[in-house]
Amino acid sequence: MSHIRAFGAFWWNFIVGDDWRVAVGVAAGLGLSAFLSHRNIAAWWVLPVTVALVLVVSLRRATRGAG
């Protein structure tokens, strides 16, 4: 059981990394892009803006209280 847990932890850390909010933000950006595109609404701006926002939020959390 511990091997399965370690295996899962390795892949989680490998792909998701230090901040799971980044993965959630990316999923939300892709979902919104697909939603808009399938309604023929221009969606090219969604992912760049999402990534910029995700970076700002994640870095703010990472540096809060650090000096």
Binding site: F14, I15, V16, G17, D18, D19, V22, A23, V26, A27, G29, L30, G31, S33, A34, S37, H38, A42, A43, W44, V46, L47, P48, V51, A52, V54, L55, V56, S58, L59, A62, T63, A66, G67
Partner: protein
């Protein structure tokens, strides 16, 4: 053409960085405990990585291209943002810079303090450390080679870029016989983070049905936008860090 150049550059740089880290581990263990078991560990790890590429590469071709681009784009985005996030934290002083000579010294000390191997037998310590180091660093390279290669249908080009990077790093490592501390690793990681994230945005968007203005050239626009955002974040975080330092600490 733009795709091919970026694909080669990204894979070469990412593979180079991982190869430097793997080489540091292998050199430290090999110098202290001997080369036989260390090199066997390296060889077995390389074999495992080659099997992963050989199995996963063709398997990915069976998936429809739009689905593949969506999944690969999402993975590259998450993966690239990890690199970019850490690179911004390092550049702004919130995270220590990766120091290959310190990593080499620490690995060397650990190898020296481990129980000695039988004179003619297999040194399992050297084998395990070299195997683990090469496998773990190599997995990141394999991930990039497979995702880039399969999405673009250019697996041989991506693999060639990775092999070229490993050959260059090992050749330089053999010449200097020490850790490659002069490689500007953090700068390269910054560039790789930007490239991985840009490709992730482009392919993820295509997979989600986005039509990019300017088609393939949109990658350059995304890269420029991300570079600007990252530079602004580094500048802002540096200011924030200086402002929170105790008076006199920066003098």
């Amino acid at each position: 053409m733009t795709h091919d150049i970026f694909l080669f550059l990204t894979t070469f740089l990412a593979s180079g960085v991982e190869a430097v880290e793997a080489l540091t581990i292998v050199l430290a263990v090999g110098v202290v405990r001997g080369w036989r078991s260390t090199l066997i560990g390296v060889g077995v790890a390389a074999l495992v990585l080659a099997v992963i590429v050989a199995v996963l590469g063709p398997a990915l071709r069976l998936i429809p291209i739009e689905t593949l681009r969506l999944v690969v784009g999402a993975l590259l985005l998450v993966f690239g943002l990890q690199w970019l996030r850490k690179a911004i934290l390092r550049s702004s002083g919130y995270k220590a810079l990766h120091d290959e000579s310190a990593a080499f010294a620490a690995e060397r000390e650990q190898a020296a303090s481990a129980s000695p191997a039988a004179p003619k037998g297999m040194d399992w310590y050297s084998f395990t450390i070299a195997f683990k180091g090469v496998l773990l660093e190599g997995l990141e390279v394999v991930f990039i080679v497979i995702t880039f290669g399969a999405t673009q249908g250019r697996l041989p080009l991506a693999a060639a870029a990775a092999v070229a990077a490993v050959v260059v790093v090992v050749a330089v490592g053999l010449v200097v016989r020490g850790p490659l501390e002069r490689v500007p690793e953090n700068t390269i990681k910054f560039a790789v983070g930007l490239l991985l994230t840009s490709f992730g945005i482009f392919w993820g968007g295509e997979g989600a049905g986005v039509e990019w203005p300017g088609s393939d050239l949109a990658i350059l626009g995304i890269l420029a936008f991300l570079s600007l955002v990252s530079a602004l974040l580094v500048w802002q975080l540096r200011r924030q860090r200086v402002a929170t330092l105790p008076v006199g600490a920066g003098a």
